[in-house]
Symmetry: D2
Subunit: 360 residues, 4 copies
């Protein structure tokens, strides 16, 4: 069977490079196009990455393959949707707002950008958590009169939190969640991202718009698809998002009020045994378990645990009772913000949509 031909929008940036890495050797998606800004257009991908100083600006750990290095970059404005079966979008929100709807006229667009996350006919999908929201794209196509559609993935800080809430919601119900994050620098990209002078020997206690995103997205993801829209879950969410001197992997200290009292053991068990939506379990990028619960009180740590199951698992530790919230429990989680929380998570969504027959 022919592979799906994909185009990566914003291919030269850090997020775009992560898509290239995520799609290397994919069983049914191939990289057929690389789009970037007009000044890269016409160059080979390798030359587009070359800086004035002679540096090759390839930033992900995985090596750049010769095949991709030699592909010719096209301008994002000039991408012909007809040449591809699917687009992966790794551009900033303002650029996404222009390019994604144009492509979605013809093909599905899986996006890491926030531009359309909050629109009423747009599902926001983490496959094990809310695969059942995916059919909303039929409504989206109908309303917008398009052949394709847009499915964004959540903000990287939402992802790990929502995954750990899912089994709690299923078993005990969740009424409220308070979360303080210690986020990795890679979440800010490289243009210019977090400056070394700002973060060394320091914490930055604010990430622009991040807290609002987590609060809104968590409610949408845990919500229910009812007819032609998603009813947000009534859970209350309150966050403080900070940046720390970590390369990859967001750490989050969560405090959750449950509907129904649960012991530490019951919470751990619910997380450990959670398998997520059935359709999500055997996707090519799915990890053997979505959540790994660690007993060592010093875990999870971002450097040690972010790459668990290829960065696709959320690790959880320090599950304890919380004495303030109703039926309160608290725990710490680590989630890989640029793997499950970004490119690999978006590829997982594409895999889900295909398993659901929505894609290709």
């Amino acid at each position: 069977m022919a592979k799906l031909r994909s185009v990566i929008i914003g291919a030269t940036g850090l997020a775009g490079q992560q898509f290239i890495a995520a799609l290397s050797d994919h069983p049914f998606i191939e990289i057929s196009g690389l789009a970037a800004s007009p000044r890269s257009a016409g160059k080979s991908y390798r030359e587009a990455l070359r800086t004035q100083n002679g540096m090759l600006a390839w930033f992900v750990q995985e090596p750049l393959s010769e095949k991709v290095a030699n592909m010719t970059v096209v301008s994002g404005d000039a991408v012909k949707a007809g040449d591809y079966d699917i687009a992966f979008s790794a551009v900033e929100a303002d650029v996404a707002r222009e390019i994604e709807p144009r492509l979605a006229k013809d093909i599905p667009v899986i996006s890491a950008a926030s531009a359309f996350r909050y629109e009423v006919d747009v599902p926001l999908i983490i496959p094990p958590v809310n695969a059942d929201h995916a059919p909303l794209v039929h409504e989206q196509k109908k309303q917008r009169g398009t052949k394709g559609f847009i499915v964004p993935i959540p903000n990287c800080t939402t992802t790990g939190l929502a995954i750990t809430l899912a089994p709690l919601q299923q078993h005990f119900g969740v009424k409220a969640v308070m979360m303080t994050s210690l986020q990795a620098m890679s979440g800010a990209g490289r243009s210019p991202g977090v400056i070394g002078l700002d973060i060394l020997d320091n914490v930055i206690p604010y990430i622009h718009k991040e807290e609002g995103k987590v609060e809104v997205e968590t409610k949408k993801i845990l919500g229910a698809l009812k007819g032609t829209s998603i009813a947000p879950h009534p859970v209350k969410v309150s966050c403080t998002c900070t940046r720390v001197a970590v390369l990859e992997g967001h750490t989050e200290a969560a405090y959750v009020a449950l509907e129904k009292k649960a012991s530490v053991q019951e919470v751990a068990q619910a997380m450990r045994e959670w398998k997520g939506a059935e359709v999500s379990r055997n996707l090519p990028s799915a990890p053997p378990r979505w959540i790994e619960v660690l007993d060592d009180p010093f875990r999870p740590q971002p450097r040690l645990d972010r790459d668990t199951h290829g960065g696709m698992a959320t690790t959880v530790g320090r599950i304890r009772e919380d004495g303030v919230l109703d039926n309160g429990v608290k725990y710490v989680l680590v989630s890989h913000n640029t793997k499950m929380g970004a490119a690999k998570g978006a590829v997982l969504v594409a895999e889900l949509l295909r398993a659901q027959g929505i894609l290709g």
Copy 2:
């Protein structure tokens, strides 16, 4: 007037060095004795700090004065209380448990150790917050039949939190507080403290016993001295304490349920205008304001704000409404863990006790 003659117990360690720095040029306390382990006894302080490799193990920023460098170190076991008017204790809890009661038979002991913090006849003092707990030492002396007494300072993570809660308690009442800390490495000392291999590009989500300390101490400090003991404040406290790659300055994300609804502006104003206990305001080590509220959304940051007013002020920013807790507000604070939170905070307690006529 003659200065108070002080002896520093545990003088060669990092905490002891901070006491030496805190007492340099003090208006009414002089350093008259330096005590350490038997293997340092008899050496000059400078030689006691010299390692096998020839390094001078002096770790605080302030220079080591010639006078102190040339003092002869005595063994902690051999300190004669009669030679001093006051002792400052910078030893670990297990050592404190032996030495402090012995010294307290004759002289006041101000301690950074946790050994006696939770005893019923021992006040735990932050001068602007609970100066009125100090008279409990009279009860302590009576019960223990001593001429001296022990007054510990709180854990460094408690201090900043309790200071910010004080004006909230005063104006609006506090019902509950949830706090996630991002703590500096200096809090762990140097024996061996936090290992570089563990903390670089990482977060350690657990600090042994720290969370329990903050929970118990906050209630005690905000409590009321009633007769011969302190009634803990009924505020509920729940924490997650983590370690980050920061040298000095603990950052804490706090969420507080108030008894009475207050706007962000009212909370900021209450903190800004808070002067603390009257007796504490003009102590030599007191800062011009105990709390500095910052408007810049990216502040406070530990590296930029820890040294505010010589490390004696708590800086607060990002005051926002919290939608989960009753009358909830949330904010971020930075407190200097080894200045206000340790040696300089202990010297401040000595200053308070003197202003209250309890000391010397």
Copy 3:
């Protein structure tokens, strides 16, 4: 006596902010003008520093005074030289190439930029090392037909090296120097400077054009003013310049071939006793000693030693024999790249020129 009215070119950048800090409370220079790019022109300095996110982009440790915060910024293109007695330039080389000559028609320009460092009629001055090069500005004025002149300071990496070479040259003669630097991030500024993702848990072994600068500048600074130009010193220089995760303070491992054999003790003594050019000794910004030699084998360290004498002293340690070079000695130095190596070093040059009667 009226103070010299100075204008700072590039006042909003990190280097410009360092000039503002360096000129706070200066005995005979006042800040009379602040120039920046056209988009800052007309705003108060405080507003020019405010980012879209509400952050006040003031990055130096010293607080921003109300007086400076309220000054109105002018466009660099519109600075009227007649309003000032001296200009301090903190712009990039390409901008300097345009603005500095225009201002130098009328007033002296002391510059941190590299634009004119290598021109034959331009002295490159470190006051204690080569104050006697300053008269070259008379030739410069004559040749260029200007009332003012341009005096650049060296690259921050050259400064500490040249200072330590000066006493060696004086006592023993220097034939060759090999140097590997471990440079702080602040040397790269903030636009974007060194990205946190690049430097954490890493070393970057290349700094664009840096090695060539050090090689050429060292020879010029140690050279001799002969008639209307400077004869470079014949010392051979070879460098490797690297970037490390340090905020401030360049560390350099130097290996020097001397003309005449000298023992480690003689080298240490030559450095310790070196007083530099007589005219430089009592300048307001001069430290009590230009070089501090440390005996502790673990020093100098950038974090512990960069601020020695207000960042104006070069600290040296680990002086040893070198067995490869002729009469070889080796040592490690730390120099504050944004104090003696930048703004404060430029202010020191202005002080020198005034003491020499060349300025004002």
Copy 4:
């Protein structure tokens, strides 16, 4: 064929853990014994790693297998050589001095300790560089009257340097080398290793005894086995060894005087094409190339390049002419200090000795 039964001495420390990782799935060596201090003896390896706080002190990236976790640790003093075919020693020099000779009476000991590196009948082997030194062990056995022998590997800082010098020596001859290292924290182990408070925002310009080790070892490794001893190579070596905030991977800036003039291209080619001793090329742990030369001027970087070919390759970049030394060239190298420079390098030596018929 039965695998060689190996015992790891010092198995609970960081270096011992690296041996366990290096021997996982080895084609012809199995882990048959784990020895540590008496207080670990009798416990399962997992329990021996468990700290008082409940942490599992397993520090290498590779997971701890169930098989190894369940092995019973024996006391180093009680290891019976007869139970094993080979010992790998990962203890400190002072312990090595006692245990290694005892074991070597019966079995070969491959050691990461420095204890015996400088003895006249002990070869110091990097397989591609000086495999021909290995027969010295016959002389060692004869002189010491033992059935086994001791072969240490070099200091981790020597390894990368010696590997890059080998092709230069072969093609052009090396007369002198000057090297400044920027070493990773893992080289110092964990007891206590490098303290976070010391290294963050800092450089430590001294590593006890390191420079002397590199100077002596380089000459021995490049030397020639003549009869019953090794004649050191006459190359002069001068070093400055520093510690930086890097987890793994030593960076070294080298300057080399060649006997015969060589261009940058010739040097690069000599390194690129170097295959090392023939017997070393197909060893199980050998990388496809011992040296990778990088053209990007910003490489090698320790974080990006340390894991090249499983940490067994030395990466080189920035090859340039040096104007100070005779026929001088300079370059930067990165070598993985705990893989090729430690446990995996020691396993490679065992593989070599077996290929040479000296072992098993």
